[in-house]
């Protein structure tokens, strides 16, 4: 039974918009440092500061995937198995926080695997890898939508 999962926590007040986290992430995901759509974590300008868009490991995508390519590992982290994935991007469309991402030209999606590369790359300490109980993040909503008797 998976009980905890590591997620990335963002401290907005510390972020200065270096985007080093995105570059580090795209190294992990694509082996380059372009950041942007090659990164699973995204930093966006908002209200004069910055906010983070990233997977919170809620696992909604697991139930949307038609080929069971998305799984929650024993570590609690949700991952894409590219051997099984058929590139329908349903997970990208259905993710409520835009944490499942697709890069231009790519057949498969990518997402945060809580590896902590972004945390290590941030010079301001704006990112933190924290372990939380699964029950705090897990969401299952694809039933009971709008129907009442």
């Amino acid at each position: 039974m998976v009980e905890t999962v590591k997620i990335i926590r963002f401290h907005a007040e510390k972020c200065r918009g270096h985007y080093d986290c995105e570059k580090a992430c795209s190294q992990v995901q694509f082996g380059d440092d372009t950041g942007g759509d090659h990164s699973a974590i995204r930093i966006v300008k908002s209200n004069g500061g910055f906010s983070m868009v990233n997977c919170d490991q809620c696992g909604l995508c697991i139930d949307v995937c038609p080929v069971q390519a998305l799984k929650r590992l024993p570590s609690g982290v949700v991952t894409v198995n590219k051997e099984l994935c058929i590139g329908c991007m349903s997970c990208v469309a259905f993710c409520p926080v835009d944490g499942m991402r697709r890069a231009k030209g790519m057949v498969y999606p990518h997402k945060c695997i809580s590896c902590g590369a972004c945390v290590r790359a941030c010079p301001e300490g704006a990112l933190e890898l924290v372990e939380v109980p699964i029950s705090e993040v897990e969401r299952v909503v694809y039933y009971h939508q709008g129907v009442c008797d």
Partner: protein
């Protein structure tokens, strides 16, 4: 209600906690695959070169002749691609090329074609896995076309073929195996497998999976029929899609008009396609970003809006039941009424509780409309599988509507009916519509227990309905079963020939046009839908023109001209899905939030643009929404021309029975007396005094004359708008405009038909036009 049925959980069952399989609670079955396989003898084998799909097309058609065991490839020419696009367009073209006009459903020459289409097999947009099939129908003696999801069409294409053409008749039960992993097609005997689909598709999925894994079973697609298909004109084809969460070989059905009947007549037990693997690039789109971004945008609409619009993801098309009931459109007691006090017992809320929720129920990968709902662990109460727990695929709206039509107001009996129709390979629509007709005849004493060979077919007798199905499937030879299993048209002839009732009443009540039974909508008050049904190429099916909502619920097409325009645009637009290999539901069962404020909300312009985007992205050249219409209009007219060729493409073949147009009986009239009385006053111009002196029979007669007159005027306007003669024949001029200048044989055939009609004085308007009436066209020879 029996003991067992009370066992069903009354609350929704859901999954959704990650990795494990869902426990269906079904009866576990083991199949001795080695023994089954030992009966297989390879009768013919063909090796083909494995080639990738290029920009949506495999570029080859697979031809299999079951009589002389010939297997060969037919190259797809650019001319055929350009003129017929794909899907049923290819099926119709191959049928025209390889078959004569007098071919009947059970002649060896009859062609059964299963087709994909250039957009088919795409995973990035919802609803892209439909199989489009055509054959000569036993019910209508013209081409019937039907479509279903499941994995077969995409796997056929990924194996290397855009279409599969089956001709001839085998001598013993066989299957055709298309092995995309090895580049091989075999015809094999299959003596030991079950015939009924829920077992057969499971056996073959396990037998042909490359290994014992969920993933391998997902790469196998099985097409099968059943014992009901063998013994009726309502045969359908089930297409499998292995559900890895339920670990059940599930099925989608197609076959209005008798595809399965032809399939079993050819001694086909199954078709199997197997592939190595695929992803969003297997269809070789030129611009993956273009199609993926369009798909994500559309899937987000589904995510955000479905729960506020149609609830397709939780109850499927069953969401329509309560709407149809509210608008007096839900067929009850053989279309006599459009609503019923007990109808709430079969509203989608009742089925919601039975459907297992939380499983991505798309019948093709990436479809998030996901309307293929299923009830798991359902305990069967009758028949050969009595006592077993099974997964029931569906029911969809049409099946529930069929229940209403038979006055069966019970979720469990509708599920039982659905399950047995599917596994026996019976079309739930034709079966229910026909039974509803037999029940009405039973009520009038035209049929009775003796004439029904012991069946008490009164409205609401679900046990008799199931008994009827079991007797069909068992090959019962009694006279009633033999006639009844051939459908409404044959039963009408039988009842009239026996002299058991008023021929006029029998003709008016039996809901068929061209020999095909109606699907499940009451269209008495919708002139546009009357036309939508009776003018449909294959017979009265809603997939060609589902205008009832537009006409009755939204009142978007009030005038003749509006209706004629709708009957031009929508059948052509809806046909487009059948030539590219798609499902229509993602087009109009979810609409953008701002759709109502667009110029033409009924067309859902944003979604039409989506399809042009996707087609451009796949083919690698710019396609506009108008191009989509042009592609489709060619095929639409070609099919009508083939109806003419086969002897059924004239006005006389497009006339509906009066039950679909108005009240046949006094009871129906009186049940909606205010409505009809008002219409006589307001539309026919009868004064209140005159009306009060008229008997109900007179009122029915006058209303009927008025409605047929309106109908004929509508047909005039539609034929004219479509470029057809006043007798319904596509003119050679129109066909040339569409690009068929080189199809000399087709043009000559049409010209001869028009000349024959001229000689018989049939090229005249059907409506009578007085002074001040607008006729569709001033030129009496407009088609020349």
């Amino acid at each position: 209600m029996s003991e067992e049925c009370l066992n069903h959980a009354e609350t929704a069952r859901t999954i959704g906690r990650g990795n494990g399989p869902f426990i269906t609670g079904n009866t576990e079955r083991t199949h001795d695959i080695d023994r089954l396989r030992s009966g297989h003898k390879v009768l013919a084998e063909y090796t083909f070169e494995r080639k990738p799909v290029k920009r949506g097309y495999a570029g080859r058609i697979l031809y299999v002749n079951l009589t002389d065991l010939e297997i060969r490839e037919i190259p797809l020419t650019s001319d055929v691609k350009e003129k017929f696009t794909g899907g049923k367009g290819f099926g119709l073209k191959m049928t025209w090329d390889l078959m004569g006009p007098d071919t009947r459903w059970n002649d060896p020459e009859n062609i059964l074609a299963l087709n994909s289409g250039p957009l088919n097999g795409t995973t990035q947009y919802s609803g892209m896995g439909k199989c489009l099939s055509t054959t000569v129908s036993p019910s209508t003696n013209i081409i019937c076309d039907s479509n279903a999801g499941g994995y077969f069409a995409p796997y056929l294409k990924f194996s290397g073929f855009d279409s599969l053409i089956l001709q001839g008749k085998a001598r013993e039960d066989i299957l055709v195996f298309i092995d995309g992993t090895a580049g091989k097609v075999t015809i094999e005997t299959a003596p030991y497998e079950e015939t009924n689909s829920h077992l057969l598709s499971e056996q073959l999925t396990y037998m042909y999976a490359a290994e014992d894994s969920e993933s391998a079973r997902q790469k196998v697609a099985v097409v099968s029929a059943g014992k009901g298909s063998e013994n009726s004109y309502w045969g359908i084809l089930n297409i499998s899609f292995y559900d890895p969460r339920r670990r059940v070989t599930r099925m989608k059905q197609h076959g209005r008009g008798g595809l399965g009947t032809v399939f079993r007549d050819k001694k086909l037990k199954a078709l199997v396609a197997r592939i190595e693997g695929f992803n969003g690039m297997t269809n070789d789109p030129q611009d993956i970003d273009r199609i993926t971004e369009t798909g994500i945008k559309h899937n987000r609409e589904i995510r955000d809006l479905d729960m506020h619009e149609n609830n397709m993801r939780t109850v499927g098309t069953g969401n329509l039941v309560e709407i149809m009931d509210a608008y007096d459109l839900l067929p009850t007691e053989n279309y006599r009424f459009g609503s019923f006090p007990k109808a709430s017992r079969i509203y989608s809320t009742r089925f919601y509780k039975r459907f297992t929720q939380g499983i991505p129920d798309g019948c093709w990968y990436g479809c998030n409309i996901a309307c293929s709902k299923a009830v798991d662990g359902f305990v069967l109460r009758t028949g050969p599988y009595k006592g077993e727990r099974v997964t029931v695929d569906g029911p969809e709206y049409e099946t529930i509507g069929g229940g209403a039509n038979m006055s069966v107001w019970d979720v469990d009996w509708i599920l039982e009916f659905n399950f047995y129709c599917d596994t026996y390979g019976l079309d739930t629509i034709s079966t229910a519509t026909a039974i509803a007709f037999y029940m009405e005849m039973y009520e009038y004493g035209i049929l009775n227990k003796e004439r029904c060979d012991g069946l008490e077919l009164c409205f609401g007798n679900a046990e008799a309905v199931l008994e009827f199905l079991h007797r069909i499937a068992s090959g019962d030879r009694s006279e009633f079963i033999q006639v009844a299993s051939k459908g409404v048209r044959r039963m009408k002839d039988h009842l009239i020939a026996k002299g058991w009732g008023d021929p006029d009443l029998i003709e008016n009540c039996g809901m068929e046009v061209k020999g095909l039974e109606y699907s499940e909508y009451v269209c008495k008050e919708s002139l546009a839908q009357q036309g939508g049904y009776a003018l449909a190429s294959k017979g009265p099916q809603h997939d060609e023109a589902w205008l009832i909502f537009m006409d009755m619920v939204n009142n978007q097409i009030p005038t003749f001209k509006d209706k004629a325009e709708a009957l031009h645009y929508f059948p052509i637009w809806r046909t487009w899905f059948a030539i590219v290999g798609l499902c229509k539901l993602p087009w109009n069962d979810i609409v953008p939030a701002d759709n109502a404020s667009t110029d033409e909300p009924a067309k859902i312009p944003e979604h039409v643009r989506n399809y042009a985007e996707i087609m451009s992205g796949i083919l690698g050249r710019e396609i506009t929404p108008q191009d989509l219409m042009d592609q489709s209009e060619r095929v639409y007219n070609w099919q009508r021309a083939m109806n003419v060729w086969m002897g059924k493409g004239r006005r006389k073949d497009d006339i509906p029975p009066y039950r679909s147009m108005g009240p046949v009986t006094e009871m129906e009239y009186l049940s909606r007396k205010d409505r009809y009385d008002n219409q006589l006053k307001e539309l026919v111009g009868i004064s209140p005094e005159e009306l009060s002196s008229m008997s109900v029979a007179d009122r029915i007669r006058v209303l009927r004359e008025h409605r047929y007159e309106e109908y004929n005027k509508l047909v005039d306007a539609v034929y004219y708008r479509r470029g057809w003669t006043p007798n319904g024949v596509p003119s050679p001029k129109k066909m040339r405009e569409l690009g068929f200048s080189d199809e000399k044989e087709m043009l000559e055939m049409l010209q001869k038909a028009i000349d024959d009609d001229d000689a018989a004085g049939l090229n005249v308007w059907g409506g009578s036009y007085g002074e001040g009436d607008e006729i569709p066209c001033d030129d009496p020879r407009y088609w020349e």
